[in-house]
Amino acid sequence: MPDFIAEWLNQNEIFTAMTIMEYWDGMVTTVHLVFLSLVIGLLVAVPLAILRTVRNPFVSGPVWLYTYLFRGTPLLIQLYIIYYGLAQIEGIQETFWWEIFREPFYPALLAFTLNTAAYTTEIIRGAIVSTPHGEIEAAKAYGMNWFMRMRRIVLPSAARRGVQAYSNEVIFMLHASAIASVVTIVDLTGAARNIYSRFYAPFDAFIFVALCYMALTFILVFAFRKLENHLLKHQRPVNG
């Protein structure tokens, strides 16, 4: 941080260079956590969504149950069950799993990933189911097998229809990540809570953190607009 900014900040009672660094570390944790859970969640959701559209109930049923469970309960409860529940398992402290689940980061990552994967599965499933019949028939007429149809026709077409709903899910996930602070992770909200309890200044601490979230959301909205423009290029008027 440049000296003149640090100097200016040090005249401020609450937003000193030290607290700004706490917010920054919190932002890094939030982005880290949300980014990883979204990427893993999306990777898991695509095959699950395909399985969910299969006619055989023994294949689609378990996926339906999974999305039903994770969409039917609050993320906070899922986080509590995973974070505190895992520690209650007899003897887990002696296994190598404990190296992973001792720190709050991985239980939170697991909860967030499972949650966003459930929502994303349903978003992609909806997009797959609404693929126009004509597209599939045309693909069949060209002699494409199931795998090729999925790869060339159904999934790209579903991506175009699903991207708007998915951008909402991404933004919800960013905001839902605020609950990570209840399991001692110092994310953006955790930093704000620490600073609030140090200075007893709720407005300053929380308005600042709200602005941080808004800045992150703005970046996401911008990125998704670019992506939508790219994916939906064919829908724009020729001269537009």
Binding site: Y84, A87, W98, R102, V182, S197, R198, F199
Partner: protein, 250 residues
């Protein structure tokens, strides 16, 4: 006739005086459960050391008191927003808080205590031995400030909103040791199998006071006077002995 007028005016004065004393409505906020200071007994009734002290204080002040339950996070904002008039929820007097609220004279002080599993044998005052250990504290407490200032770079500090969550993580071996208000640790950690006190209690801060809005200076004087009376006439000691085996009087 003169006698009658005198009697009537006396009666009036009495009624007026009585009415004035009855008039004062006070709402007092507690964060429950914080045993043994404020918690609900098996019948769901609010009780505890501070609750009983508040009852005695209200009687002494001739005030009509209503007890409000408020989570710790929203304590000071709730007071400033006039949701209640007094906080008697083990709020330690600190300079930062004193900028936002007006404190009465302290009415008790408990030390911070170190608690950990039976297997914990490190000297908590030895910084090189404590290096890399994970310490749990409640966010924004004087214990938090103490650990942050004295052991900040040495140990990993985890901050919790409630003591329950912290004790769960101590049991789950996510924490090596907790530093918590002594009576709370006694009630929560020591009541469990396999845990012990692992260091000397540390005297912290200026004690606990009743918190009020800055402008309520008259109320503060009345509170101070009432607390002083209770401390002198033995009421305080009677209540204290009900809940504590040691002295917390200030």
């Amino acid at each position: 006739m003169k006698k009658m007028i005198f009697a009537a005016s006396c009666a009036l004065a009495l009624i007026a005086g009585g009415a004035q004393a009855q008039e004062r409505d006070l709402r007092i906020a507690f964060d429950v459960p914080y045993e043994p200071f404020e918690y609900k007994d098996e019948n769901g009734e609010l009780t505890g050391f501070e609750v009983e002290l508040a009852e005695a204080m209200c009687e002494e002040m001739n005030a009509n008191c209503e007890f409000v339950i408020q989570a710790w996070d929203g304590m000071i904002p709730g007071l400033l927003a006039r949701k209640f008039d007094l906080i008697m929820s083990s709020m330690s007097i600190t300079p930062e808080r004193a900028e936002r609220v007006l404190f009465s004279e302290p009415y008790y002080n408990t030390p911070g205590g170190w608690f950990g599993p039976e297997s914990f044998n490190t000297d908590v005052t030895d910084m090189s031995a404590m290096e890399g250990k994970t310490v749990g504290v409640q966010r924004g407490t004087t214990m938090d400030t103490y650990v942050t200032e004295n052991m900040g770079g040495v140990v990993t500090i985890k901050r919790y909103t409630t003591a329950d969550d912290m004790v769960l993580d101590l049991e789950g071996q996510r924490l090596d040791v907790v530093f918590v208000d002594y009576p709370v640790g006694e009630q929560t950690v020591l009541s469990k199998e396999g845990f012990k006190e692992v260091g000397e209690p540390v005297k912290l801060g200026e004690g606990v006071g009743v918190a009020m809005r800055q402008r309520d200076t008259e109320l503060a004087e009345e509170v101070n006077a009432a607390l002083r009376t209770l401390k002198e006439d033995g009421t305080y000691d009677t209540i204290m002995q009900k809940y504590f085996a040691y002295d917390i009087k200030m």
